[in-house]
């Protein structure tokens, strides 16, 4: 089951990826696995001292979820670029929902490329990440 450049249409949606609600366990595991040990994500005392109501998710966790969506759609060796802006904080209990849409088809350097607009929102429709990715097909 592989995608072909010809079959891709601008406007086409990627299969959405909806995650489990973010828990403290999610954040503890991600801190260890990602190597981002900033206590603001795992230590309530530290977070409160920094003026936050609670710990909150790593931006890179949501970006990793977007990465899962992309590599579910095409094999990873087709991924040429992946770029995001973090627009909102993902709090405990938020359900990350990743989506993507084809916005352009073009050729460059002998490769046929598809540009995607990608985003992550929570269950309330609040934006958390916007960005784009380019894949070669």
């Amino acid at each position: 089951m592989s995608l072909s450049y010809e079959d891709i249409e601008v406007g086409q949606l990627l299969p959405q990826l909806e995650l489990a609600p973010i828990s403290r366990t999610t954040l503890a595991l991600f801190a260890g696995a990602s190597g981002d040990h900033n206590p603001i994500h795992i230590d309530l005392d530290f977070a409160r001292k920094a003026g936050m109501p609670d710990v909150f998710a790593h931006g890179m966790l949501s970006m990793a979820y977007l990465g899962r969506m992309l590599t579910n759609w095409v094999p990873q060796d087709r991924l040429r670029s992946f770029s995001v802006r973090f627009t909102g904080i993902t709090q405990l209990g938020h359900v990350p929902i990743c989506s993507g849409r084809v916005i352009e088809k073009f050729e460059r350097g002998g490769e046929r490329l598809v540009k995607l607009e990608i985003e992550a929102k929570n269950q309330y429709g609040e934006g958390k990440i916007v960005g784009d990715a380019t894949v070669a097909l």
Binding site: L19, A20, T26, L29, F30, G32, A33, S34, G35, D36, H37, N38, P39, I40, F46, K49, A50, G51, H58, G59, M60, L61, M63, A64, Y65, G67, R68, L70, T71, N72, P75, Q76, D77, L79, R80, S81, F82, S83, V84, R85, F86, I89
Partner: protein, 147 residues
Amino acid sequence: MIDKTQTGKTFPPLSVEVEKGRLRFFAKAIGETNPVYVDEAVAKAAGYRSLPVPPTFLLSLEMERPDLSGWLNEVGLDLAKILHGEQSFEYHLPACAGDVLTFESRIGDMWDKKDGALEFVVKETRVTNQEGRHVADLRSVIIQRNR
């Protein structure tokens, strides 16, 4: 306060071996269900030399730098006040478990908004593999909120 005189500062190159166990732990932490990221036989059948390094994990490897908060302090960033503003990856070659990747990082632009209430620091990293081939380029924008 960020120290704008640190613009262009470079860090000593960091070489990191990509370990299968770390990739599997990362896959678990992000709920990855695609077997190519945990089962080496599946990865090999898909054409990879071993488990592939997932798209965002290159930044995790770069965080292996000893004394991570050291560089933050050097440019005037405080762990308690920073947020990740932007992150981008350009991929040139796949990276897999067993590779030894070298990360060369430098501080790019630094600027502030609202009379210093928000400060921005760019970090750029070039990644090469054990054969000296260019694997990827990373760019991070860190935002510091000063109250």
